[in-house]
């Protein structure tokens, strides 16, 4: 490689690397650093406390609660949009009348910001005049004023539903693209050979959709790890921490309780969890690559 090319490469890489270093690597390193301190955010002076913050995590009841919720959130945020997206894609792929219209409609929510989606669903869940309770009242004829977002046993799931509503459109579009790649004559052969619709789906369509599934699950994992904004808007982790996820708990400890050191320790744990999830995912991805690559 000649010298000029090297200069070019360095120059072109310098800017993105600088941005990455400044906004990703540097904050990450800072979090690691502060997780060993008792910094409160305001005070320029702080002490090093070793692993005390990590010790506190073990006994923190709210941390355990947030960990369980994070697990629920991740599993639901992967399974629901994927399953619903696949279902919608299979329905719309059958050239139903108005399919193009419905494709646009189902895709629309992904174009909205999480703040807007959150606000829409806050209105839907409003206990007195919200859409959900109003429909329930009309359908059942009984009084319904359940405060979906304000009761501890429904808050987290109500947010998960709103989240799935937004994310499903994206999975649907990816699956629709995948479906167009399955040759029609292959399905025709299956039909002639006497495969039932279920066998065709189970033995032919789903295996051929594996590359799409890989993309859908990848996006779901990434998006679910990022899924802080909609929870912040809809419940803020409440009522009384019942819908806290680790990201929400970290935020509350850092910014509401002024425990930057402890909040950083939680973020380090969250980072390690994310690394494990991503590691597992990449391992699966390599397997898929070997088969379909």
């Amino acid at each position: 490689m000649n010298r000029q090319n090297r200069i070019w490469r360095t120059a072109l890489l310098a800017a993105p690397l600088a941005v990455f270093g400044l906004f990703v690597v540097w904050p990450l390193m800072s979090s690691f650093y502060y997780s060993f301190t008792n910094w409160n955010g305001f005070n320029p002076n702080y002490d090093f406390v070793g692993f005390a913050n990590f010790g506190k995590i073990v006994t923190d009841r709210l941390f355990l609660n947030a960990t369980i919720n994070t697990a629920i959130w991740m599993v639901a945020a992967i399974v629901l949009p994927t399953a619903l997206g696949l279902g919608l894609a299979l329905l719309l792929d059958r050239k139903l009348p108005g399919a193009r219209f419905f494709k646009s409609v189902f895709y629309l929510p992904i174009c909205l910001s999480a703040v807007i989606v959150g606000q829409i669903w806050i209105w839907i869940y409003q206990p007195d005049w919200g859409l959900l309770n109003t429909v329930l009242r009309h359908v059942t004829g009984a009084e319904h004023n359940w405060a979906w977002l304000a009761r501890p046993n429904t808050a987290l799931w109500s947010v998960i539903v709103a989240w799935s509503w937004q994310q499903t459109g994206l999975s649907m579009v990816i699956y629709l693209a995948g479906l167009t790649g399955i040759p029609g004559d292959l399905l025709e052969v299956c039909e002639i050979e006497g495969a039932s619709p279920w066998q065709r789906l189970r033995r032919v369509v789903l295996p051929l959709l594996t590359p799409s599934t890989v993309v859908v699950v990848a996006l779901s994992v990434i998006n679910s790890l990022k899924g802080f904004d909609i929870l912040y808007i809809m419940t803020g982790g409440g009522p009384f921490n019942s819908s806290d996820t680790l990201a929400m708990h970290m935020y509350n400890e850092s910014f509401a309780k002024f425990r930057m050191g402890y909040g950083s320790a939680i973020s380090v744990v969250l980072f390690l969890i994310a690394m494990v999830v991503i590691g597992l995912y990449f391992r699966q991805l390599r397997k898929v690559d070997r088969i379909y690559g």
């Binding site: 120059a11 409440g238 509401a256 425990r259």
Partner: protein, 423 residues
Amino acid sequence: MQKITRRAMLGTSLALPALGVARMAWAQAGEVTISHYFTGDLGMNAFNAQVEKFTEATGITLRDSPVGHEDFKTDILVRAAGNSLPDVFSYWAGARVQFIADAGALHPIDDMWAAKGLDDVIARPVADSATIYNGQRYLVPMNYHYAGMFYNTKVMADIGMTEPPATWDDFLNLCEALKAAGITPVALGSRDRWPAQFWFDYLLLRTAGPDYRARLMAGDARYDDAEVAAAMAMWKDMFDRDLFAANANADDWTDAADKLARGEAAMTLMGTWITGYWNGNGLTPGEDYDFFEFPQITEGIPNAAVGPVDGLVIAHNAANMEGAEEFLAFMVSDAGVQAAWADAQGALSANVNVDPAAYNVVMQKAAATVAAAEAFAFNHDLATPPPVAEVGLSMFARFIDDPSQTGAILAQVAGDAAAAFDE
């Protein structure tokens, strides 16, 4: 030639961000930077109008970055953490200012206070309780509020209330009468948690007294004490009697205010900022709404008024210290600014030169009530350190969700609060 162009490109790509930083620093010279939470319903236009008066009088301009009231609580911390506090920022007097004064983030203003003669300008009770931390002054009170039992006058007239309930029994009887008439006695919108705290504050203040409460807020008493249990039992009794609007945790305070305005509910325990909200929606003070003091419960206990003080403070590393001090002094000592500001905010001025006649009838009554009170106490989340306040606010939300768990809640909160105090 080509090489030079490439080098120039690389140089420019590195220099541009640096230029941006330099430009920001340059823009700060000569003006005062400020961040505040006076936005939306809380009067951004009114604040800007007062700032204009300051600029006219002194020639100093302000560069402001207003942040919504709830978001401000974290935004200012983020700025402090990033060592980029504005010269001046609004903050709530009490434990929160104490917290950041302890952290060394604030600039003491004793010299400015003396030079500007603010002792003669600021009402003594507010000055004593809100401006001094660790023996030094750090804050000027922009305005203060009083939390009272606001009610819909028409609803109360219909039910036959001729004078405010003087005792707790009178109050409960009034509530029962309202319930019998098909009206929700008390509206509460505690989605953001803090609106619930005034109930806890007043019940505790009226039964255990201001001294005990001050000890609880400072960590010298515990949440599993008999005093706290007694106050909570009274609150629980109200829920058992079904006196509160359903799903309080799903509404915010303006939803509760709206229920009152529509006549669906009769009363709400809220700060005087609710008058600003109602006036903005076309309600007339005295005619459409009024308030009474939280009733006496235990005889012989000093009568305390609860409320927050909104203040302005200066960052310890303010770039324009002189301009910042000038701004603080002007905003509190100019009677015209204070009168207009208090009026727009639905707040009370701590400036003794503001003529009470400038207030509407309800605010005049609020000013007189605070003046006659034997003690002025900050509400819970401003009276106790932020980590403990978080524990308390979650306790209120959990209690409202299921009052039958009071005992278990208090036992857990006692441990959590003690741990937070020990940090």
